[in-house]
Symmetry: C2
Subunit: 322 residues, 2 copies
Amino acid sequence: MDNKIRNTINRYDMLRKGDTVVVGLSGGADSVALLHILLSLREEYCLTLFACHINHNLRGEESDRDEAFVKNLCESLSVPLEAVSINVKEQVSPHESLEETARKLRYREFQRICTEKAAKLATAHTASDNAETVLINMLRGTGTKGLSGIPPVRDNIIRPLIRCSREEIEGYCEKNSLTFVTDSSNLTNDYTRNKIRHNIIPLLKEINPSFIGAAARMTAIVGDDADYLEECAAEKAKECLIDGKYDSKALKALPKALKCRIIASALKEKGVEPSTLRINRCEEIIEKGMGKVNLCKNRFAYVRKKKFYIAEEIQNYRNKTT
Amino acid sequence: MDNKIRNTINRYDMLRKGDTVVVGLSGGADSVALLHILLSLREEYCLTLFACHINHNLRGEESDRDEAFVKNLCESLSVPLEAVSINVKEQVSPHESLEETARKLRYREFQRICTEKAAKLATAHTASDNAETVLINMLRGTGTKGLSGIPPVRDNIIRPLIRCSREEIEGYCEKNSLTFVTDSSNLTNDYTRNKIRHNIIPLLKEINPSFIGAAARMTAIVGDDADYLEECAAEKAKECLIDGKYDSKALKALPKALKCRIIASALKEKGVEPSTLRINRCEEIIEKGMGKVNLCKNRFAYVRKKKFYIAEEIQNYRNKTT
């Protein structure tokens, strides 16, 4: 496994000499293995390591047990630890699952600490998490980006274990006599992920025991494709953009792969979720050379005077032009 | 469903006025619906329609029952039918499954008839088949192309039902009082497809009842991306190619998405299956600026004198240069 992780670190340029790295440490097998691996690379990369544990206070005594375990572990390894206690239940909004809120709050804390220390954040996501994420995205009807799974690197976040399966990590812990805690509520609130992890992936593994590895290879390839397409689209978008509006004829002439990405980023920029339906409807008016699409509430996509743009409906303007 | 099919036909430019179309007619719900739909479009598109039934002789009396059913159906609809009887078992090779051989022989017969009639071939693949194919490809560790599923159009083959689920087609048959035969051996020799169809997709539908539609949207998007990337790669390949060898420096400088596609097509051109491993090893010697990779048997990839190429090992040449 060591080799696989080294390859991943090199391939995605995760570590540079002298880096400061904060390890997100839940106390589970994955994050304990991650800390152990980064410690083994500390000298070679002149790393400054910190650990950060978030107590979500969602599992009563078990949450406190995990925090105590992590404190002990870090003390024994002489790794400075920041333990943060958050109250997820108090902050959950009606439009969000508990899981989603927990995730947001966790990353907020992680990033606060990373900013303080000018550090990278290392998370313990595995190839197994990646395979689950791809299937979840597929179920929702994703595009190429969703099929590239969990990105190995995003901004300051690095995921050195992203090509190792959960089984490999458990093997690594055993080989290195690493102790860790087990989350008894592995069946958390995330219905979809649990169903995929416990019911669907085992069936897929019956067909191909190396499914997790196959998914890792796939996401790596598709990730490269998605990155390249994003770059091409961003470049073309610049060429089509005049005073914040897109030349609709130039857009129309582009291949679908780029056109859809430019429409998606135009929508995102105005705070509109770029669903397939919205993108298709924008494409239709670009194809026609004129038209208006109600995207949501008072936000519209227009093709007017050979320009494509997203804007809020302004009553006066409307009266003047219609 | 009619609208969906019309959109698919338009979107992929499947039919032109005056086309001759051969319908692959097994007698099952999908192909019976397909024939019915093409008959309903016959006048509008001035189509000349034929049907072709392949009796694989794999299911004893049931095979003959299906052939008789199809003959009756075509007679009642006044559609000329060519019924072909093939012996799959006699022609199966040790490296192939019965399913695979049957598929190859079936398409060979279809294409023979299409060539005779200068016709397009319409097959009854559905969005359900497409979702299964994507999952099968995922299990094998595919790239973007494999994730685009069953192509709606390839060469002279058109698949008007590719965005309709099996349930929609059964509904269509019911609504139009269409009779069809049922393959009692739906559990055929294709272990993987059956497991996916009968065990895995039902679970995915429990999470998202519209999974088949989500997969259809996904494959449409990813298919556009894959097409565009293929085009870009083909264009760049031409720029890098000098006297049948690739300028290795120019290749090295390309984004991974294009580099891998060019390597893959160079391998395919020399009859070497472009596996991820082989592509990666070719990439390595391109990166280094020199080297040699044994691809299979006596076939090698080389980077020599700033050129990348695939060739057979020639003993004399080797003695001279080493």
